[in-house]
């Protein structure tokens, strides 16, 4: 081979390599997302809807149980019930214990998520998941970011944590997580601590492809959890409209009664009799 030929060959090698890499790494496309309310999109936090694409979610062939209507008051106890713990980092063959269980969300985050998840889930389509991002300042230079996704499937509410309290110093990394909340920037340092009516699904959560490692996932049997929640909220049934009255009030009781009738749990006659009894006692 001539010297010129060798030079061409040497030049073609990196080009070929980069072309192979570019094609191979082109599978991580970010799905489209949409904003659902004004307060859902703030500079340091967001909740929005994102289309669950097939390459990012193998279960997307089965639509989610969306829209899903819950009040903010119904969300709060659920959010407070979620706990995480830091994974112990051992060295070589010596494991280290996990950290103590901690509430996954701060009170301020519970307030924000309860309001925005209510709005987002009410507008979610069966092909969409609700993604979120939260930030908190650790130091002047370091921001901790939590991102993930929620979806409802059958009788279970699912939460996937893409990143939990991950330290970030570069704006481009934050921007990446804002665009793709389920992109894990590092291995999961935290794991869920399942409580009552909560479980850790063993099956692939569908978001772990060869481009995205498996993320911690929690499944919550929301019906049971909401039944056990303090009686300050309205209807517990999936698809129930948001309630503006506490259960203990006459309005709340009537609304609850109507919901039960609409769901076919009681007949019209039973509904009328019970309604009369409530009004008589007023």
């Amino acid at each position: 081979m001539t010297a010129a030929g060798k030079e061409r060959r040497a030049r073609s090698t990196p080009m070929l390599m980069m072309a192979v890499l570019a094609v191979a790494c082109s599978l991580g496309a970010v799905p489209a997302s949409r904003v659902v309310c004004g307060m859902c999109e703030e500079p340091d936090r967001f909740v929005r809807l994102q289309v669950s694409t097939r390459d990012r979610h193998v279960e997307s062939t089965q639509p989610f149980s969306h829209p899903f209507r819950w009040s903010a008051e119904q969300w709060k106890p659920i959010l407070r019930s979620i706990h995480v713990q830091k994974r112990g980092q051992g060295v070589l063959f010596f494991p280290a214990p996990n950290g103590p269980p901690l509430p996954a969300f701060t009170p301020a985050e519970v307030d924000y998520l309860s309001e925005t998840l209510t709005r987002a889930f009410a507008q979610a389509q069966p092909s969409e998941v609700v993604v979120f991002g939260l930030t908190s300042s650790k130091t002047q230079e370091i921001t901790e970011i939590t991102t993930g996704a929620w979806f409802v499937k059958d009788t279970q509410l699912h939460l996937i944590l893409g990143n939990y309290r991950e330290a970030v110093t570069m704006s481009s990394i934050r921007e990446l997580l804002w665009q793709d909340p389920l992109h894990m920037i590092a291995g999961a340092l935290y794991e869920f601590v399942p409580g009552p009516y909560q479980s850790l699904p063993r099956e692939d959560n569908g978001l772990g492809t060869f481009l995205i490692p498996e993320a911690p996932q929690l499944a919550l049997t929301y019906h049971q959890l909401s039944l056990d929640a303090p009686p300050v909220d309205g209807g517990h049934e999936k698809g129930a409209p948001p309630s503006t009255y506490p259960d203990s009030s006459l309005e709340g009781k009537l609304q609850r009664l109507k919901q039960i009738r609409d769901d076919g749990l009681i007949t019209d006659d039973e509904f009328a009799a019970k309604k009369k009894a409530l009004l008589d006692g007023f």
Partner: protein, 496 residues
């Protein structure tokens, strides 16, 4: 099957191996050991690095400047949150495939093969609050190298230093301001842009190591018909780790929303001696200073930065008569015992511009002068023409580089990429031996690099690395022809 087809097949197989490794990295459980700081603080590597380590981002540079500490209790190795997982030692190497060829005067040398770049064993941290340390050991490994020989000659304690931080508090200053720190030991000078932290793996910053009269990359030329050049007693390169003492500091400047940094060093260049039995003070000494000012950030990811540096040193030319005398270098039986130091200087400037947090355009310029005595002493006082004519050697060098670390690669929306292009050049202004052409040993070097973060966790890093370099060394063939070289490296760079 032709050689070309075989070569292409090997490259494709390597790419597939890379992708396979990439997938495997997600299937395996996370290793319980990490690069030291990520493990210590429980943060991902891109807290301190731009994607595709090892280039430091703004925060990482500040963290380094402040002696590897946040100024909080969590820094201490005895802190309760420091678990067994903290083991302040990291390893780094690159495994892969390299193709290299050089040619001059119609002859060519080619080599290719699998191998690894050597091994860095690193340990950095703090011994106590405001007392930092660093160790880098690069063992010479017989099996290292990409078919071009082992790295036995690189067996080296590359860095070993202790750094006392915040000395200003003893002078009445406030604590944790970091404007007066002192480092003693062997370390990388505060060069305009760290070569150790450069994403390019096997392409040196030419101006950091260039020596007037010495053929660039001369060690890799084998039996090619190239000129021997002329000997120069000065082997100082600002890119070479040097033993010495450094006073440095970093100050946040409110008016520029940036940082003022300085580094003043007194080093025994290239393992020489400040004072010895035959010479006296300064025989192998160099003084290096670098100052930078940034605006709107640190100047690597955000903001802009300008800087200037200067070197004034002396290099030994002769060995003492007690050990045989003669020119320094190969004639010196005991390294660092040469005498009759002769002067050399380097002055330069650097700048770094950033855009959108994803682009970094940076470069540096250097003007170098070596005393004619540094050359004449090595040639027995006669030049290549047999005449006693020598002159101060002078050359200009520089580089300009563009790094791009996109949030996500356009069109394919894939994060974790780092691309880089760098152009290095050397232009001789005056040869020490005037019988050589003025343009003799002028260098042009182009480096292209792409890196992809295959895997990143709070414990380990793995990047797929592709790097291509081509260079031209002017007029160094035996008949005055140019020397051309190309190197392609494709490998997996990992830190543990």
């Amino acid at each position: 099957m032709s050689n070309r087809a075989i070569r292409g097949l090997i490259v494709c197989l390597l790419a597939l191996i890379g992708l396979f490794t990439y997938e495997i990295s997600y299937l395996l459980p996370k290793a319980n050991a990490i690069p030291a700081f990520a493990r210590k603080y429980g943060v991902p590597c891109n807290v301190c690095h731009v994607p595709g380590f090892p280039k430091l981002n703004d925060f990482g540079n500040t963290f380094r400047d402040q002696g590897y500490q946040f100024g909080a209790d969590v820094d201490l190795p005895t802190h309760e949150n420091i678990t067994m997982g903290f083991w302040p030692v990291s390893f780094r190497t690159t495994v892969g495939y390299q193709v290299a060829n050089v040619r001059a005067e119609g002859q060519a040398l080619a080599s290719s093969g699998f191998g690894f770049t050597g091994l860095d064993i690193l340990s950095f941290g703090i011994l106590h609050r405001s007392i930092a340390f660093g160790l880098v050991y690069t063992p010479g490994l017989k099996e290292a190298g990409f078919g071009t020989g082992s790295s036995l000659t690189d067996n080296n304690l590359e860095s070993a230093f202790v750094r006392l931080m915040n000395l200003e508090r003893f002078l009445g200053g406030a604590d944790n301001t970091y404007w007066l720190n002192m480092r003693v030991g062997k370390y990388e000078l505060d060069v305009p842009f760290s070569e150790k932290r450069s994403p390019t793996l096997n392409t040196p910053f030419v101006m950091y190591h260039y020596t007037s009269g010495t053929i660039y990359q001369g060690g890799a030329l084998g039996g090619l018909p190239t000129s021997a050049g002329y000997a120069n007693a000065n082997a100082f390169g600002i890119g070479d780790n040097q033993p010495g003492l450094e006073l440095s500091g970093i100050v946040k400047t409110a008016t520029t929303d940036g940082y003022l940094r300085y580094s003043l060093n007194m080093v025994t260049a290239n393992g020489g001696s400040f004072s010895n039995d035959g010479g006296g003070f300064g025989r192998s000494a160099a003084f290096y200073g670098h100052v930078t000012q940034s605006f709107g950030g640190y100047g690597i990811v955000t903001g802009q930065r300008i800087g200037a540096f200067v070197v004034a040193g002396t290099a030994p030319t002769m060995c003492p008569s007690s050990i045989g005398g003669g020119p320094s270098g190969t004639g010196c039986v005991v390294p660092g015992t040469a005498t009759q130091g002769q002067p050399y200087t380097r002055v330069g400037a650097d700048a770094s511009l950033t855009f959108d947090g994803q682009w970094n355009l940076f470069g540096a310029f250097i003007h170098a002068v070596d005393s004619s005595n540094l050359i004449s002493s090595q040639a027995g006082g006669l030049n290549a023409a047999g005449l006693p004519n020598f002159q101060n050697a002078a050359w200009n060098g520089g580089f300009v580089a563009l790094d791009w670390y996109p949030t996500q690669l356009p069109f394919v929306n894939s994060p974790g990429w780092l691309f880089s292009y760098r152009y290095d050049l050397i232009r001789n202004q005056r040869q020490g031996d005037p019988t050589f052409a003025k343009t003799f040993n002028d260098v042009d070097s182009h480096t292209f690099m792409a890196r992809y973060y295959i895997h990143q966790s709070n414990r380990t890093d793995l990047a797929l690395h592709a790097e291509y370099n081509q260079y031209k060394d002017k007029g160094v063939g035996t008949n005055g022809g140019n020397l051309y070289g190309q190197t392609t490296l494709v490998g997996l760079d990992f830190a543990y």
